[in-house]
Amino acid sequence: MRNRKLLWLFLLPGLLLYLAIFMYPTVTGLFYSFTNWDGVSPSYHLVGLDNYKDTLTSIVFRKALFNNVKFMIAVVLAQTAVSLGLALLLVKNHRIHVVLRALFFFPAVLSSVSVGLIWSFVYDPSLGLINAALDRLGADAWMQNWTGSTHIALYAIAFVQVWAHAGQMMIVFIAGLQTIPEELNEAARIDGAGRWQIFRRITWPLLAPSATIVVAYTTIQSFKAFDLIFTMTDGGPNYATEILTTYIYHTAFASYAFGPASAGSVIFLIVLSVLTALQFRLLRGNRIAYS
């Protein structure tokens, strides 16, 4: 009984912080989503579900949602594949592997605003490094208007997102790989299994918990992306990279429409929660254990 009281006592500061920093804004945001508040005026009126109706029928919101889904799929597929590949290559604890791991992890410690600004220069069509390198290599047919093309701008940013976070996810996969007993691989090799078979039958199934974390985390992270897109394209050109977070930001702080922006945030939260729950449900079924 005493322990339980003490437990609550120690939980209290954290709980208060959580209530103040997360729950209070969430609840007030929910409230404002039913108002016409502009974010500045002292007064506002309740407008019922109008903001939700307007948001769901908004052309820009729909474009943003569609872009969000495209961005998320591209990032989840690429980031999972790249981080798994890196983890398989660098799982051993040789000195060179440790150094390479640190190098690949390095972008994760940079602020995403800096990453966005740096890559804006790298992608610049006339002064940027990529086009300059392609030109010098004689591959000028590959030169692109990376962030200025409505067809590829979103994927160019998705590449940067993967570049920035694949190292982090690599660490999760390495941790998962290091829990797989070497005896299992050895036994499989003795039985004549090749590398691909070992990966398919042993490594991948046993990595399922790590994969679940990586996929779920990457989904949330890519769905919530903001800084990179904001600094690199601000949703352009012609809404080609507008996603829900930039839509909400523009609605709240450029259009001074906090009510509709709050409605957008609530819809965003619902979509993200459903997506995450679905993923956990789908990926949980893949787990197996060898004994």
């Binding site: 502009d38 820009v60 002064l127 352009g236 050109p237 001074y256």
Partner: protein
């Protein structure tokens, strides 16, 4: 024993919570004491210093303004000015909330257009009508700070949002500023044939929002065409905007904008001009001083494309008045705040600000010391239109308009791009 320990822990926690809360309370109390002392400025005993907060988004002006603030404080003992700047994006998002609760910004600045409208609606502006310092300004240039006959803010900076051209390059190729659209196209063709990029265009950020103004000014020579669009009385699918988009497309298709203009940001487009690879920079007079700083050999002038026949051209260029100085209606020190604006409005101080920052001002009879600032002086006598983009008060509509330019540069037909933009405007009409 255990009971005692638990009670002791509870007591310590309570003390901690009470301490934290009382610290907050005392901090608020101090603030309110200061505030009440200041609010009663007229009755307070002499020697009690008053601190006013001045917030704005121009970090690049801090050095110049620090010098001016020092002079103000010396001339007004007992008034201190605490200046705080934040990047313009952050200013849009953070400052408005702070202004609403008057936690900062006894004196603050506002953009014209959507932000001015929102802050006015929220009652954040103190009425400056009738203040004697207003007579220092060119009356036509502070109109943007008026609403319902009240002078709510005073635009301090004067900008000509017209493309900048490289005078020496023009002279080298025997080019003069064209008077009509055909002449403008011929000029671009000549530059292109000489291996010079005719127009450096920052299509990724500021370019569409700047060049659209002079491109549309004679296609629809009206001060309120976008007001009508937002009211549903005109449409972006009307000939004036479709023609403007077609002309943007023509410039792009003929290669008069640099390659991949939509991927080019402000700094990169500026670099093409500064390095003299491009003859025209689709920007505005606000960029003149910066260009000169980076290439002292540059000789620059302004040139607005005339998109119609010479005899149909009503306007010669575009102007904007911005960096609008205002007093917070909830300020505890309104007298001191107005004193500070009055000080900034003085001819000599405004001149000091202009010459140190490279920005023209709306104050009358200011002496400009650099050729770049004198460029704008010459434009004061021309027939210019207030920036049409800033007459669009809804930011979504503003974005729809500039995005339709990006759409045609991406390959969409002007008609389709206009239709898409109008669809977004229509959604706001029904709200």
């Amino acid at each position: 024993m255990k009971q005692i320990k638990f009670r002791a822990a509870l007591l310590i926690l309570s003390v901690l919570i009470v301490s934290v809360l009382s610290a907050c309370g005392s901090s608020n109390a101090n603030k309110s004491n200061t505030a009440s002392a200041g609010s009663d400025a007229g009755n307070k005993p002499s020697g009690d210093p008053v601190t006013i907060s001045f917030i704005h988004w121009r970090g690049e002006d801090v050095e110049a303004l620090n010098g001016i603030i020092q002079k103000f404080e010396a001339a007004n003992p007992g008034i201190n000015v605490e200046m705080q700047t934040m990047p313009s994006e952050q200013y849009q998002s953070t400052a408005q909330a702070k202004l609403a609760d008057a936690s900062v910004g006894d004196v603050f600045t506002s953009f014209p257009g959507a932000q001015f409208g929102a802050l006015a609606k929220a009652g954040v502006f103190a009425d400056l009508s009738g203040e004697s310092f207003l007579s220092n300004y060119n009356p036509a240039l502070i109109e943007a700070g008026k609403q319902d006959g009240k002078q709510l803010a005073v635009p301090y900076q004067l900008v000509y949002n017209d493309p900048i051209y490289n005078v020496k390059l023009f002279e080298k190729y025997g080019l003069t500023t064209p008077k009509d659209w055909d002449g403008f196209l011929a000029l671009c063709e000549k530059l292109k044939s000489e291996g010079i990029i005719p127009i450096a265009f920052a299509g990724a950020d500021i370019g569409p929002g700047q060049l659209m103004n002079s491109m549309v000014m004679n296609n629809e020579p009206s001060t309120d065409i976008f007001t009508k669009v937002e009211a549903g009385e005109a449409k972006l699918t009307d000939p004036f905007w479709v023609k403007t988009l077609s002309q943007f497309k023509e410039l792009n298709d003929k290669g008069y904008l640099q390659k991949d203009a939509l991927g080019t940001k402000d700094a990169a487009a500026g670099a093409l001009f500064i390095q003299e690879k491009a003859a025209i920079l689709a920007s505005g007079s606000f960029q003149l001083a910066q260009n000169k700083k980076q290439n002292p050999n540059l000789e620059q002038q302004l040139l607005a494309p005339i998109t119609v026949a010479a005899d149909q051209a009503k306007y010669e260029g575009i102007h904007t008045t911005t960096f609008m100085l205002a007093v917070n209606s909830k300020s505890k020190h309104p007298k001191e705040a107005k004193k500070f604006i009055a000080f900034l409005s003085g001819k000599d101080i405004a001149g000091e600000y202009a010459n140190a920052t490279g920005q023209n001002v709306t104050v009358k009879d200011v002496q400009y010391t650099t050729p770049e600032l004198q460029v704008a002086t010459a434009w004061a006598s021309k027939k210019t239109l207030f920036q049409p983009r800033f007459t669009i008060t809804n930011a979504d509509n503003q974005k729809a308009v500039t995005n339709s330019i990006q759409a045609v540069l991406s390959g969409k037909s002007p008609e389709d791009a206009a239709k898409e933009a109008q669809a977004i405007v229509d959604q706001h009409l029904t709200k």
